[in-house]
């Protein structure tokens, strides 16, 4: 088991954003975390990556307890992530962005960038890239850092259909090559196409989990999305 959450809870000023959330992510799979807005998905991501401290519960990465560790330590333990709104280093070049993740030569950097169909030169300053290109750069950067689990927060948000299509291929290739991926997504077609497992979150709790075609037929899930 790559990642396991047990009874993770978090409140913000009286509002329970995450409520006894429990699920597992298997090695070498693509797992999608879905759910209506406000279900707590990004909070769960922030808790796993250490940016938010849970009020209760435990997280284990490859059976090591990482609950409450500072973000940099969790990263060093092998979790790499991206964000809903890209967080590239705006004033640094493409090359420098990648070098922060891993100190290596231009050849390897170019290879990683090409694997996500990133086309611009290494010297380009990140702020000069289009939004879609920045997103690809952020994914490449996350790939660069040595990791066992890759977490992507809405990788298709705000990107054009061509890059969206490329992302399907990119993620499937990564999984086929042995990677473990956990992602948050709203694009249900995307989720259906690439996921091995879908976890539906609602009001901070796991509502249903299973294979994509099983989850999508579930009455409870439909109610959660469409309202009673």
């Amino acid at each position: 088991m790559m990642l396991s959450l047990k009874n993770i809870s978090k409140s913000f000023g009286g509002v329970k954003a995450v409520n006894k959330c429990t699920f597992e992510v298997r090695e070498n799979t693509i797992t999608s975390l879905v759910g209506p807005n406000g279900a707590g998905k990004t909070t769960v991501f922030n808790i796993i990556s250490g940016l938010t401290k849970p009020d209760a519960g435990a997280i284990r990465l490859k059976n090591k307890n990482i609950t409450g560790m500072p973000p940099y330590k969790i990263a060093q333990n092998g979790i790499s992530r991206t964000f809903q709104i890209t967080k590239v280093f705006r004033n640094l070049s493409v090359r420098d962005n990648m070098l922060i993740a891993k100190k290596t030569g231009d050849a390897e950097i170019k290879k990683t960038l090409q694997s996500v169909y990133f086309e611009k030169s290494l010297d380009t300053i990140a702020s000069e890239l289009s939004y879609g290109q920045q997103r690809l750069l952020e994914i490449a950067r996350a790939l660069s850092m040595p990791h066992s689990l890759l977490m992507l927060d809405e990788p298709t948000a705000g990107v054009n259909p061509r890059i969206r299509q490329e992302l399907r291929t990119i993620l499937k290739n990564l999984r086929n090559g042995g990677k473990t991926i956990l992602l948050i997504e709203h694009d249900m077609e995307f989720v259906m196409d690439i996921s091995d497992k879908v976890i539906v979150l609602n009001e901070g709790k796991v509502l249903r989990e299973g294979r994509p075609k099983d989850v999508v037929k579930d009455k409870g899930v439909l109610e959660a999305y469409l309202g009673k």
């Binding site: 973000p71 070098l99 993740a101």
Partner: protein
Amino acid sequence: MIHEFIISDLTVISIYVIVVIAFNLTVGFTGLVNLGHMAFFGFGAYASALLTLGGVPWYIALPLAGILTCILGAIIAAITVRLKGDYFQIVTLGLAFIAIAVSRNWISLTRGALGLPGVPEIIRNNFNYMLFVMAILTACVIFFYWLTKSETGKIFQAIRDDETATAILGKNTYLYKVLSITISTFFAGIAGSLFVHYIQFVDPTIFDLEFFVLILAMLIAGGLASIKGSIIGVFSLSILLTSIRFIFADISPELIGAMRQMLFMLILILILIYRPRGMFGKVDV
């Protein structure tokens, strides 16, 4: 203000370049707006003055002043660097005010407002001292170019651009921020020592707001995150200030100081409004 009278002096200009580059390291390269930067410069000056007046030879006092200053810097950084941006600025601003209060009131150590006169020189000959200072300046510039291009320097800039993203890439951003300030305050302390052994005097006015604004002006005019900018910024503003002195040459002496200050502030306001990135600035503060 002492600093005003000798702004055209190459020795002092070189010392200011060291101060401004060190300032740029934390503000421009790491994104830490340390408004108390000049408090460390003054601390270095006082430390070196007190050491040499106490009989310590200059070749020990100079590096020791730098070391003592950076230890102080490290301690303060360790405590304050966790505060959010706004509050970090406020704390460091408060430091400058505290430095004024302490230097004025700890009379048994600092002689208060009377200051410490008769600080021994390092090199008696002014021209030779200028060469000495410029040699140190050259070493500093080489060091900072190397640092900002190194892996550590890139991490500083990554922290400035996005601290969270830097953390999730496995870097202990807290330690890097403390390191940035520690390095910066070391050089501020060295600069303070070089300064005090030149003008041979130090008093609480070294912590004055006007002096800090002068250094700040040089930093901003030159541009953030640019070492070249800091060098040119110091030189340009020094030339500007010196020429202002000649514009008002025929008015009464008391009036001159005030009018020069006013003109300089006016130019600064224009830069802040219309060109806050200065000449070579790469980022916003």
